[in-house]
Amino acid sequence: MGKPEFVYVTYIETTPEKLWQALTSSEFSKRYWFDTELKTDWKIGSPFALVMDGTTTDVGEVLEFDRPRRLSYTFRHVLDDDMRNERPTKVVFVLEPHGKLVKLTLTHEGFAEGSKLLDGISKGWPAILASLKSLLETGHALTIPPAALAIEGIQ
């Protein structure tokens, strides 16, 4: 049995530079990521936080910032009581040019067995990345209500 992790691959008709900007700027993330802002200066070792409607939902620190190829940060959820006590996990984005497309591979790893956070992010990432792809290709993000994802502990 493999270690618990979440891997998602999607192909987007855009450039690595535009995708990188979308992954690292609040101006973009607010549009495709449930109105979430990315609070960090993106220096290696700097703190990183996801802030939704003024409330910090997740925190971490910047591990890699290799524009426009590889981005990673540690990730710990802080709202839900159970998830807050789980060990920090790691999010890695890899961007690869693929003809006129970009192949985006997201790996979220470092979960303990039976992690409640793993269940939550497994529902969240497909919605976020689908919305990101729509925004870059059509100019319109998806408006998926977070409640529709049915993540335990998250409204």
Partner: protein
């Protein structure tokens, strides 16, 4: 050791009817699935074929579920690249409306441990489903560079 299983969820700004049509119509599949066509009369137990554009054989199977516009399932048996000796696997699509979008879940299971077909489809589905989403939302299809390269070679020959 659990059996290999591929699960993928994608959200598409479309209707369940349009997504279901795209999954079951040969002309539409040809657009987003790199020239490959899904062919069947979609009666339960009837033959299913994915007519591959580049390989010399089809992927064959049988229709297992056909419940428009909610669920579709077929067995899936590739013959090319030495995969003909493996037992057929199973593809299940589930379509759920969510506001003005559709949540599409694909589960591809029924593989033996170490299955080569599992490796193939795990690489293939993210591309096919990314292209399906672009096709339905933007009227565009994604082209993998390996198909572009193929066309370039054929053009040069």
């Amino acid at each position: 050791m659990s059996k290999p299983e591929f699960v993928y969820v994608i959200y598409i700004a479309s209707t369940p009817e349009k997504v279901f049509a795209a999954l079951t119509d040969a002309k539409m599949s040809e657009q987003y699935w790199a020239g490959n066509r899904v062919v069947s009369d979609w009666k339960i137990g009837a033959a299913f074929a994915l007519k591959l554009k580049r390989e010399e054989t089809d992927i064959t199977g049988k229709v297992l579920e056909y419940d428009p516009p909610r669920r579709l399932a077929y067995s899936f048996h590739p013959q090319h690249d030495g995969m003909g000796g493996e037992p057929p696997s199973r593809v299940t699509f589930e379509i759920e409306p969510q506001k003005d979008q559709v949540k599409l879940t694909i589960v591809h299971d029924g593989f033996e441990p170490g299955s080569k077909a599992f490796e193939h489809v795990s690489r293939g589905w993210p591309f096919v489903l990314s292209s399906l989403k672009s096709y339905l939302e933007a009227g565009r299809v994604l082209r993998a560079h390996w198909y572009e390269d193929e066309r370039a070679r054929q053009g040069a020959a």
